[in-house]
Symmetry: none
Subunit: 199 residues, 4 copies
C-alpha cells in the first residue's frame, strides 16, 4: 500500500475479463438448475472453473452475484407489435412478457427477496434492473398505436407497466397457475383494454 492517489494504475496482474463472463454465465446456469437459495458460491466457482476468492473479489456475496447475473443477461427486446391494432399489440406483448417471467425470473425472485432485506443498496440495484426491463417492454406496444389515432387515456404506458407485470407475476407465483392463452386474453380484454382505452 504505497500510493493511494492513482485511481487505477493497474499495478500487478490485471483481472482476467474472461473470468467475469464465466462467473456470470455459471451463475445463470446454476440459478436455473437448482434455484436461488440452493445456489452456492462454491458451485458457481467450480462451474466457472475459478477459485472462490475470485468470485468474492468481484461480488460481496450471493445476492450481489445474482444481481450482476441478472444484469448480464442478454438485453431482452420485446417483439415488434403490429401498428394500428391495439388489442393484438397488447396480446403479443403480454404473451412475450409472461414467457419471460415464467422462464427466467423464477430464480431471480428468490434472490431478490433474500438479498433485499440485508442490503438496501442491492435491493435498489435489482429494482433498477427490473424497472429498466419493464420500461423497455412497455414502450413497444404503444409505439404504433399513437400514430394510428386510437385514443388512449393519458399515462397509458405507465398504467400498463404497473398492472400487467403485477398480475402476471401474482398469477404465476401466488396462484400457481399458468399464464396460458385464455388467461392472457382475459387480461387484455377484461382488464387492460377497458382501462387504457379512452372512454
Amino acid at each position: 500500500m504505497q500510493d493511494g492517489r492513482t485511481p487505477a494504475p493497474a499495478r500487478g496482474r490485471p483481472r482476467d475479463t474472461g473470468r467475469d463472463i464465466a462467473i456470470l454465465e455459471a451463475t445463470l446456469l446454476v440459478l436455473t438448475e437448482v434455484g436461488c437459495d440452493q445456489l452456492t458460491i462454491d458451485a458457481v466457482a467450480a462451474r466457472a472453473g475459478v477459485g472462490k476468492p475470485t468470485v468474492y473479489r468481484r461480488y460481496p456475496g450471493k445476492a450481489a452475484l445474482v444481481a450482476a447475473a441478472a444484469e448480464h443477461r442478454a438485453p431482452r427486446t420485446p417483439p415488434a407489435t403490429p401498428s394500428g391494432d391495439l388489442r393484438a399489440a397488447l396480446l403479443t406483448t403480454v404473451q412475450w412478457l409472461a414467457g419471460q417471467i415464467a422462464e427466467q425470473e423464477i430464480g431471480l425472485l428468490g434472490a431478490l427477496f433474500t438479498g433485499m432485506r440485508n442490503d438496501p443498496g442491492l435491493a435498489a440495484e435489482m429494482r433498477r434492473i427490473l424497472r429498466r426491463d419493464e420500461a423497455a417492454m412497455t414502450e413497444e406496444p404503444f409505439r404504433g398505436v399513437i400514430e394510428s389515432g386510437e385514443r388512449l387515456v393519458p399515462g397509458a404506458a405507465a398504467l400498463f407497466a404497473e398492472i400487467a407485470p403485477a398480475v402476471i407475476v401474482h398469477r404465476l407465483n401466488f396462484a400457481g397457475l399458468p399464464c396460458d392463452r385464455p388467461f392472457l386474453e382475459h387480461l387484455v380484454d377484461d382488464v387492460l383494454l377497458p382501462l387504457l382505452r379512452r372512454r
Copy 2:
C-alpha cells in the same frame, strides 16, 4: 375421501398440543424478529422451550414450519365497509390490505420461494393459505354495494381479488415504494373503479 372409522388408533403417547402452539408462536416471534431466511430451527426450538427433534417430528423443515405458522395466525378479518359508497369501501379495504401485506407477509414470501422448488405440495399449501386470506378480504367491500343498487360488472369481486393484491405486492416488493394514501387513491380511482363499475 372420508373414512367412517377412526382415522388413527392413537397408539403410543399422543403429541402434546401445548407444544404445537408453543412452536408455532415461537416461529411467528422469531420470524418477525430476524426475518425468514435468518430464522433457524434451533432458535425456534429454544424460544419455544422445546427440543429440536420435537420440531422436526412435526415439520420436515423450515419451509413447512413457516407455512404452518402462517396458517396458525388468527384469521384476519377485514374491517367493515360502509354500505352504499363503493369508493369508500374499496379505499378502506385496499388500505387494510396494504397494511396486512406490508406487516405480515414479509417473512412468508421468502419461505414461499424457498420451499416451492423443493416441495410442490408445500407450495400448494402456502398458495391455499394466501388464497383463503385473499378470498376473505375481497368479499367484504362488495357486500353492501350490491344492495345499494350500484351497478358493477359481472365478476367484480374476482376481478378485484385478481388485481388489487397483485398491484400492492408488486409495488411493495418490486418497486420498493410504500403503499401510502396517494397511491391507494390512485389505485382505486384510476384502476379499480373504472374497471369494476358498469360502463
Copy 3:
C-alpha cells in the same frame, strides 16, 4: 395387608418371563451383528418385539443389559480331556478356549470397557462372570492329570488360568492374529508345559 413377611408379595401383574428371555437373546443377536458400542437399546427392543421401557424396567442401561446377556449364555462347559496326557489335555483346553473367546467374547469385551468406568458395581459383576467361566474351564485339564502321577508345580491350575486366557486374548485383540494350531502348540510347548511341570 395381612402379610408383610414375604419379601415381594407380587402385587399387580408379574413380569412376563418370556420377555426376559426375548430381550437377552435379542441382545446377544444384536451384539454379534453390530458390536457393542453400535448396539442401541432401541434396536434390542425392536428385535425382541418389546417396548423400550420394558427393557429399562429390567436393566438400568446398556452395560447392565450386555452383562445380563453374557450371564444368560448357555453355561460353557469345556470338553473332556484325556487322563494321563497333560500335553493333550492342555492342547484340547486351549483350543476350545481360543474358539470360545474368538467367537463369543468379541462384543463383550467392548461392553466391559464401556461399562466398567461408569459403574464399578457392573465391572465387578462382569469380572465375576468372566472368572466363573475361567474357573470352570481351568479345572478340567488337571482333573485326570493329578491321578496319573504327573508332577505339577503347586497352584498349577491358577497359573494356567492366569496366563492362558491372557495370552490368547492379547493375541486376538492386540496382535490381531488368529489362534491357529501352530500358535496353540507353541503356547503349550513353550509356555505352559515348562511352567506347570515340576522341574
Copy 4:
C-alpha cells in the same frame, strides 16, 4: 507429468501444522479427563481452539482421532536396567510397563474396540502402534544380560513380549486388580524367570 518424485504438488493452502499438534494434544487431554467413550469431537475441537470441520478434515471419526493421538505421544522409552542382574532388570521393566498401561492405555483400549469392527485398517494401525511400543519396551531388559553370561532360552525377548503385557493387561482390565509390587514379583519369579532361564 514432469516429475514423478514429488508426491503432492501442494496446491492450495497447506494445512496448518500447529493445528495438527493442537488437535492431538487436546485429544490426549480430553481422553485422560473423561475417558474414551465420553470423548466428543466437539470437546476436542473446542479445547484445541479449532473448528469441528478442521478435525474432520484430518480424521474420519473418533476412533481415528484417538489412534493418531496415541501415535503422537512422545515415544516411551523404558528405564535403563542394571546389567548382569536379570531379575532386577525384569522387575524394573514390568513395573514401568504396568505403570504405562495403567496410566495411558486406559482410553486407547476403548477406542481400539470401538474402531476395530468398523475399520479394519484402523485396527491394524492401532495394533502397529501398540506393537511398536511393546517392541521398544521389551528390548531393554535383555540388552545387558546377554553380555553378562546369563543363559537364556532362545527367543527370550519375544517370549517376554508375548506374555508380560498380556498378563498385565488381563489383570488390570479383566480381573480388576492392581499391578502392585507383590503381583509383579510373582510375575517375575513364578512366570518369567522360570520360562526365560535356560534350564
